[in-house]
Amino acid sequence: MAGASPSARAEVVVPSDWAAATAAVSSETAPPVVIVCGPKNAGKSTFSRLLLNSLLPRYGRVGYLDTDVGQPEFSPPGCLSFNFVEEALTDLLNPSLRQSERCCFFGDISSKRDPETYLNCLFHLYDYFVEKYRSGASEPLPLIVNTPGWVKGAGFDMLVEMLRYICPTIVVQIRISVQSKNLPDGMFWLDCGQTGPKMINIDAPFHDALNRSLLIQKDSYGMRERRLIEYFKQCFANDISLATNKELAYALTSLPPYEVSISDVMVIHLHCQVPPSEVWHSLNATIVGLAISCGTAEAGIVRGVDVQRGILYVITPIPLEHLQSVDLLLQGLIEIPKSLLQVRGCVSPYMPTNVLHRISERDINT
């Protein structure tokens, strides 16, 4: 993440309509609740960062509700989180990891597998925000809600539910030049006749020669993998050199993990049914959410299971004292980065050679 930023940061040019939009939002009389929406790769996250930085000087602190489980802003992939931000973001083009105030481990990179649970997580986080920062005597906290780029079909329905539940004061819609991919214009989530919030429409910032907004194709798989790698780098103190993934992978194999008795934690499979007899076959060497029964979650790797002694070995950047209340292991479908599994001399057994993967024409002919 940090690698690309220094050169890229110099090129950040804020389009005029974006500047106008952030100015309009930050000059609202009351602390706003802003929802940023639009198709994928239109620049929602970038705009949200910009907006966050422009709200900070006036309010000093801003809430950020991160609902994009595929590419979260502050947490590892698969999480929805509420964040309390007090200092400006230095890198406008890339997400940065930070400790969330409250985090739900949804366990997949898209909400499509379980829309109901997804929305419940989202509502839970929003309720938490309202109760803590909007209903007290102190000045209410402004909130930015970044949404996923899935705006068609079931994704659209979920966005509508989200907008109806949150009732934002401002909705910023980013539009791209391919009209068919955009959200409907106007207050699409309300029945006709209802009065809605302020709408701001802006264009995606990337244009081609004909001044059409362009979508930048992102390597989302690679981005998720890098993000997880960044996340697990936090397990180590800064003085250890971890310049390459190989060094990190080796360090992870030699890091004394946390251990917990199997009887002290409960395992929940979020998206699959796994027979009780197979639970450790399912969990060994996978990424899990480490959660407290009724609260926040973080991510970790189950790096080994000793069934006879009843011990789980877990790697996570969470400090030990915060771990003590963790009693849930949530297994989703967040794939462990392959580069963490193959270290010379320490290759994970789940990374064998000679795997027949795809049947190709060549195989048929021989």
Binding site: V260, V274, A285, V305, Q308, G345
Partner: protein
């Protein structure tokens, strides 16, 4: 010979391609078990395992679809036989839909990606991949027209199943490298060239490459195999060590040299003499010290297996001889280990910084665990094991060594083999128990000191922990791949048994890793996080309060100086039989 030559490292010889794939199974053995289960009359266990695989992601399409077909068959009265035909679990319509969907997913799973990439039609691609035409037609029919008839679908399902077996299960089976054969042939080749040094002069020019190069290439290869499957490679090497030793060495030497020149491939099952094997292992362990730990683990496990056989009363003339050889190997390996440690090729867990991101850092092992294991072997009386333990003790700090050497028990153990009196056996076992206890305690004290210095260890002075923390940082961890755990005594990486203990249905799937530990471990479970405390709290007060120091009092040399006595708190105290029995029963839990 030719086969080995034709497998150069560059192309990843012997079919071992360098390309690694993330798969949901932890070993090819597990994959084979599931394969055999799926194609057997009772596929339930295999289907359950595949459910676990599915939850990990990265499940190959052919596995997914085969499981689907097997599961549908289980619901179809047609395949379940006459008996079950009465109770209609699923209606025909439901079965029709299930079959159609499975076939659709099969066809799409194989051709969807190339279809998107190339734009060729589904049927063209299916033909290229070799999917039976009827499946492609059913996919088309059921997605765009009426559902096909159940009769047709059943036929098609059989075809699909056979096709999957051929195209995936059989092909993959053939692609799995036979590790044992590979290791054997490599070892033979190394041996051949090691010994070939003298005979080379006889036929100059017959070798294109220098033997040293070939040897080091083969060593690298064995090392790679070891990384892939540590326990398998270690057991093959141990097999060689044992078979070489059981034969008169000169005979096999002659046989070896003769046959190796004649036909290399035929002598794959021949022995390599013990001395040659030791040279090979030395060379291997110079390159990869962890291999030595792996072999040591194999040896100790074999000793325990043999012990188990002896305890069951299975009298076998070979067993004592085998045990002797095994014990001598333990000594030899431990000596090698010390040599490697002295030359800095391998370190101890507490000596080097706990964490390193340097891939070339020296591997480490946990001395205390290994020592504890050796002392807990019931054949502790064997001379070689005592010597091995002493070599290990020699590696510890001087302080501990001095104390332990003062213990007059160690030579006593040798008497045990002759003595048959039950009483003397009793005393002997108590002696051993005491010795182990003392050693264990001093180790723990030392470890505890280390921890206290680092500020990470909990204070052991508190007898009962006020609040039990469920999470803790693992102590004395040795680097091992993600998905594996360090062996409880040898520090070598092992693939853990992941089956839930009390599930009987799973017994057939369970692999044989470390199952002999289970009874000990279950007893230890609840006290696991504080074994040290348990030691202090439960055992000692039964006899007397321990004094803070553990010094060994001087004893005059008597014929049976320790009869009826036990070293408690540094003093030899007279203890009653009941007390001894009590201690003995507790020792099992401790060690």
């Amino acid at each position: 010979m030719e086969a080995a030559e034709a497998a150069p490292e560059a192309t990843g010889g012997g079919g071992l391609s360098t390309g690694r794939k993330l798969v949901p199974w932890s070993s090819w053995a597990e994959w084979r078990l599931v394969r055999d289960g799926l194609f057997s009359p009772s596929p339930i266990a295999a289907l359950r395992r595949i459910a676990a695989w599915r939850s990990r992601g990265s499940l190959p399409v052919p596995v997914d679809v085969t499981a689907a077909f097997v599961e549908i068959r289980l619901r179809d009265p047609f395949f379940r036989g006459v008996m079950a035909a009465d109770d209609a679990l699923e209606s025909e319509e439901m079965l029709t839909m299930l079959y159609s969907m499975a076939i659709m997913r099969l066809v799409n799973g194989f051709v969807e990606n190339p279809h998107k990439k190339t734009g060729y039609s589904i049927s063209d691609l299916a033909e290229a991949v070799g999917i039976p035409r009827v499946l492609v037609d059913i996919r088309h029919e059921s997605s765009h027209r009426n559902l096909p008839s159940l009769r047709l679908l059943r036929l098609a399902a059989i075809k699909a199943f056979d096709w999957l077996k051929c195209i995936y299960w059989d092909s993959q089976t053939n692609a799995i490298p036979d590790l044992q054969v590979e290791v054997r042939s490599k070892l033979h080749e190394i041996n051949h060239f090691l010994k070939g040094k003298d005979s080379k002069k006889a036929k100059p020019g017959s070798k294109r490459k220098r033997p040293e190069k070939i040897i080091s290439r083969n060593i690298k290869y064995v090392r790679r195999l070891y990384y892939a499957c540590p326990s398998e490679v270690a057991s093959v090497i141990l097999e060689f060590l044992l078979s070489g030793a059981l034969e008169p060495s000169e005979n096999s030497d002659v046989q070896q040299t003769e046959s190796s020149d004649v036909d290399q491939s035929a002598d794959i099952h021949n022995q390599i003499s013990n001395n040659d094997m030791k040279t090979i292992v030395t060379k291997l362990s110079e390159k990869e010290p962890r291999l030595l730990l792996g072999i040591l683990k194999s040896v100790i496990e074999t000793i325990e297996t043999v012990e188990g056989l002896e305890n069951k009363g299975e009298s076998n003339a070979c067993l004592p001889a085998k045990m002797e050889i095994l014990c001598s190997h333990v000594l030899w390996i431990v000596t090698k280990l010390k040599e490697l440690k002295d030359s800095g090729c391998i370190g101890l867990v507490h000596e080097i910084g706990v964490l390193s991101s340097d891939r070339n850092a020296v591997p480490r092992f946990c001395l205390a665990k290994l020592l504890r294991k050796l002392l807990s072997l019931s054949i502790i009386g064997e001379r070689c094991i005592i010597d091995a333990a002493l070599v290990l003790i020699d590696m510890t700090t001087n302080n501990v060594k001095k104390k332990l050497l003062q213990l007059p028990m160690l030579p006593l153990g040798r008497l045990s083999t002759d003595s048959t009196l039950p009483e003397s056996k009793e005393i002997e076992s108590v002696d051993k128990a005491t010795e182990k206890l003392e050693m264990f305690k001093s180790r723990l004290k030392q470890k505890d000191l280390c921890l206290a210095e680092n500020g990470t260890g909990a204070s052991l002075n508190t007898i009962v922990p006020e609040k039990r923390n469920s999470w803790s940082t693992t102590k004395s961890w040795t680097p091992c791949p993600i998905g594996m755990i360090p062996c409880s005594f040898s520090s070598a990486a092992v693939l853990p048994t992941l089956d839930v203990d009390d599930d009987e249905l799973n017994d057939d799937i369970s692999e044989q890793h470390e199952n002999f530990h289970s009874d000990v471990h279950t007893e230890r479970n609840e006290h696991y996080s504080h074994p040290e405390k348990q030691l202090d709290v439960e055992i000692i007060p039964e006899i007397s309060r321990p004094s803070p120091e553990y010094e060994i009092s001087d004893m005059p040399e008597l014929t049976f100086p320790l009869k009826g006595r036990l070293l408690v708190g540094g003093v030899w105290k007279v203890v009653s039989e009941e007390e001894l029995l009590f201690i003995k029963s507790k020792m099992k839990i401790l060690l």
